[in-house]
């Protein structure tokens, strides 16, 4: 990795086995600094497990090599806040020494009352943006983002996409996005990793528009109508 400053992550022969079940099998890929990788695959394909291994939470075999001075921010798919009386301000201060109002600004939640709202009362879109603000508070240079639009209604997706675009284009941040959304893959990512326990496709994201690639990923090409509906 020291000899190649372009790369921020190299994963080789990564496997995860839990209770005699293979969750990830011999996964290998590389990621260039400042690029966005979309990770696509059916439910149970091991996408979130891949993030857990990249965060060093679960035991694995193989090799994960992050470039020096890599600082990772993480936005999980789900968090359990329904039963916890905690304000946005308190949540953002966990593990971070930040000015709360300033940290809400990049995710466009800078109205005055937001910081004192209870986390469990936020809409899906607001909660996702608070999670992004939390992940960004530490000034990471890599962001792992599990399902950017899960639980977010259509009207609330836009600010999340704008934030992603700014992180990518203005801050040159390296992004890894788990998604089911072809629109996100096509619009916001440079590379695509299709996963189904093992890697079924790795290449440039624009390739996803090719029927031959769709056949590899989905078993059959995605109809144009379905793609338009997703948009």
């Amino acid at each position: 990795m020291e000899n190649n400053k372009d790369f921020v992550l190299k994963v080789s022969n990564l496997s995860v086995r839990l209770k005699d079940q293979t969750i990830l099998d011999n996964v290998s890929f590389e990621l260039k600094r400042g690029t966005t990788l979309a990770i696509l695959g059916p439910n149970g394909a091991g996408k979130t497990m891949l993030f857990r291994t990249l965060l060093n939470i679960v035991p694995y075999t193989g090799n994960i090599e992050w470039a020096e001075k890599t600082k990772i921010g993480y936005v999980p798919q789900n968090i359990a806040v329904d039963e916890i009386p905690i304000s946005v301000r308190e949540f953002l201060s966990f593990g971070n020494h930040v000015d709360v109002e300033t940290s809400l600004s990049p995710v466009r939640l800078d109205n005055k009352n937001m910081a004192d709202k209870t986390l469990s009362y936020l809409s899906g879109g607001e909660l996702r943006r608070v999670l992004i603000a939390w992940a960004l508070a530490d000034n990471p240079n890599v962001l792992l983002f599990d399902e950017p639009t899960t639980g977010v209604d259509l009207g609330s997706e836009e600010p999340i996409f704008v934030t992603l675009k700014e992180l990518k284009e203005k801050q040159k941040m390296t992004l890894l996005l788990i998604t089911h959304d072809i629109h996100i893959v096509n619009e916001y990512s440079d590379y695509l990793l299709a996963l189904n326990r093992c890697v079924t496709f790795f290449g440039e994201s624009k390739e996803i528009m090719k029927p031959s690639v769709q056949k590899i990923i989905y078993g059959e090409p995605v109809c144009i109508g379905a793609l338009n509906e997703e948009r």
Partner: protein, 257 residues
């Protein structure tokens, strides 16, 4: 008599405050029954202290401490919930405790007795409560973060297993010193009900934790005070005081909706 009452009230306030504070985590973790059940694990330890003539509360603490470590370890190895493991351990401990406990002293152990409280007991209880509170404050945010998302906590460098163990140990210590006031059967109340009342009235974590602690201290103080005037066991009166606070919190929440 007055001196004993003052010492008991001091223990009650400090133990109630720290138990309420620690209990606020337990209620969030949906481990309320763990706090209750864990207290019963102390019974065999108390019995051994009485049978072999050493401080029964050292025995109680040893049993609680050992149980906390076993529960934590079994939880990690088996992936069973804390509630399941504690449920199994507490029934075993209660059975052994009842079998070996000298009958004459059983009632006192189950429901508490303030008549024998000494200045040394009070000093130990106050110091232990302050240390437990200080340590709990240090790990409080980390515990809450790990409840919200273990991945988030790990991504911030939190050793989730270790802070859970420390938390269980702190609960063990506070429960052990709370037993002399409220008794082993009812001490779990101090961990659960004040936090449940505070949750009804709180929109943020700071208010929730502080109210839990204040309600714990208030329940213990008023229960001990009334038990002294009425010449009754303190445990049941502490519980009744706390339940009055809880009912008031339910009414306040209902009216604010």
């Amino acid at each position: 008599m007055i001196e004993t009452l003052i010492l008991s009230l001091l223990i009650g306030v400090f133990v109630g405050f720290s138990a309420g504070y620690l209990g606020s985590i337990m209620v969030l973790e949906k481990m309320a029954l763990v706090g209750d059940a864990l207290s019963h694990v102390a019974l065999p330890g108390l019995a051994l202290g009485i049978l072999f003539n050493f401080n029964p509360f050292l025995g109680a603490f040893a049993f609680l401490f050992a149980s906390a470590v076993i529960i934590w370890h079994l939880g990690r190895v088996t992936k069973l919930s804390f509630e399941t493991i504690v449920g199994a351990m507490f029934t075993l401990a209660l059975a052994i405790g009842i079998l070996i406990f000298p009958e004459a002293e059983l009632l006192e152990a189950l429901f508490g007795d303030i008549a024998k409280v000494t200045a040394l007991d009070t000093g130990v209880a106050v110091v232990v409560s302050i240390v437990a509170l200080f340590l709990a404050k240090l790990i409080y945010k980390k515990l809450v973060l790990s409840m919200i998302s273990e991945e988030l906590a790990v991504s911030k460098g939190v050793d989730v297993g270790r802070i859970n163990l420390l938390y269980l140990l702190l609960v063990s210590v506070v429960v052990a010193i709370g037993i002399q006031i409220v008794g082993t059967l009812l001490v779990g109340f101090l961990v659960i009900v004040p936090a449940a009342a505070a949750k009804n009235l709180s929109a943020d974590l700071f208010k929730y934790a502080i109210l839990s602690a204040i309600f714990g201290a208030t329940s213990a103080f008023s229960g001990i005070l009334f038990s002294s005037f009425l010449n009754l066991s303190p445990g049941p009166l502490v519980v009744i005081s706390g339940i009055i606070i809880f009912v008031a919190s339910v009414v306040a929440k209902w009216q604010s909706q």
